[in-house]
């Protein structure tokens, strides 16, 4: 076992960890915020909104995240310079760093999955509770914010834990673009030092610790809910 590489490469690994956490936290938070209206649209929306929301979820869940990521970066992104006037007026868009593409793709993908989860969650709240809320004079917005949404989210918390862990384990895909996440940092160490197993073992350990922290954090929230048997 060779561990001599670890200390000199700690700054690189720390930078990689920051990028991995940025991708995870940003895509989970923003993705979830997007997922609520998309999920709701599938339950209460009119035919047009419903169809659009369903098509969005089908695409996001029906194609690999890697394909979506590459379609954005190597596909759409590389078409920008061909649009007349782009090079002169929108150079920043052409030069947009790969990390923005990663954040964009990961967020949209997470939103697609969570919208489907939220759709089921909204449907699972008993009709009677919603009718009771309306009966005491709550507005539609109040019914949603005080009764429907909280009850729905609490029911799917265990599912969400799994989804967030899944998202963490998707983050290494970012390293297929010029983004130095934890996986990319480890890969660079591997190629610099020709030490193969130890950096990968270290990488596995870090992901396990992160998963443990996520499980614990969500477990804490789950325990806050009084259980009614």
């Amino acid at each position: 076992m060779h561990w001599g590489w670890l200390v000199p490469h700690l700054p690189l690994l720390f930078h990689g960890l920051q990028i991995t956490l940025l991708i995870l936290v940003f895509s989970v938070v923003v993705g979830f915020i997007l997922a609520v209206p998309i999920g709701l649209a599938q339950v209460t929306g009119g035919p047009v909104a419903r169809t659009i929301a369903k098509a969005y979820c089908s695409y996001m869940r029906g194609t690999p995240l890697l394909t979506q990521l590459w379609l954005l970066y190597y596909g759409v992104g590389s078409l920008f310079p061909m649009i007349p006037g782009m090079r002169e007026n929108f150079m920043w868009l052409i030069r947009l760093d790969a990390i923005y593409y990663v954040l964009f793709a990961f967020t949209l993908n997470f939103a697609g999955y969570e919208a489907e989860v939220m759709r089921g969650a909204f449907l699972s709240v008993p009709r009677g509770e919603l009718e009771a809320a309306r009966a005491i004079g709550m507005s539609s917005w109040k019914v949603l914010s005080r009764v429907w949404f909280p009850r729905a989210v609490l029911q799917v918390l265990p599912t969400l834990t799994g989804e967030v862990i899944g998202q963490l384990k998707s983050t290494p895909l970012a390293f297929t673009l010029p983004v130095m996440d934890l996986m990319g940092a480890t890969s660079k160490i591997r190629q610099d030092t020709y030490i193969i197993y130890e950096p990968l073992l270290f990488l596995a350990l870090v992901y396990m610790i992160l998963t443990f922290i996520i499980t614990r954090a969500f477990g804490y929230f789950e325990n806050m809910i009084p259980k009614r048997k």
């Binding site: 190597y74 992104g77 590389s78 920008f80 310079p81 090079r87 052409i94 030069r95 390293f175 297929t176 673009l177 010029p178 130095m180 990319g184 890969s187 660079k188 190629q191 610099d192």
Partner: protein
Amino acid sequence: MTKTKTLLMAALAAGTMFAAAPAYADLKMGVAAEPYAPFTSKDASGKWVGWEVDFMNALCADIGEKCAIEEVAWDGIIPALQAKKFDMIMSSMSITPERAKTINFSNMYYNSAAVIIGAKSDDKDFSPEHLKGKTIGVQVSTTHAAYLAKYYEPKGAVIKTYATQDEANADLAAGRLDYIMADGVALGAFLDSSQGGCCEQKGAVPIDIDILGPGVGFGIRKEDTALLDKVNKGIQDLANNGTFDKITATWKLEGKVVTPAKK
């Protein structure tokens, strides 16, 4: 019956002599069987051609030896040299300290130039001072990445690393990078492609042996010191009389390979 047997024997003997024909050559060169164009590859008729083959013919004429090519698998090329299956390795083999423990190397006879490629609309200057604030793409953990970190990053260039060379090439074509740096021979293929139409070679960077390595040499058995001296003298002769430049021009490798300097 006896007559037939004799005839058969004669035919067999002739066959053996025929098969052993290359053994009459004074010097046998071990070349990896895998094609490595434009240095060593086979043409449609199965004849070895390439920059290295032309160079070998010129060198053998200079040192007064008759040379022949012996094909061998790249993986076993050093053991085959030790087992005297041939006399010299001529297979674009980079001179490394690790290999030099087992075999001797002749002086460098070529080194792939490390080149910088950029958009045709940009000027030809590619000095570190001029590329301040520009973005340069390079494959991660290569000698070129080390070169950029030593000479270009301290002067203010932004270095972006890629897992593969193809991705860096694609991003240069998409306008996300100002320049890329890589092996001149490998990038020649990219520039010839439709994607590479955007860009041109700005030039080769000054050689730094510590980073880019000493280049390619012949591998020769440790005990064959007389042969080593003779080959080194031949390489210098070819450098002095301009043969290297002629062969390089034949294979359109100007600016893509570096050859020994005149002395």
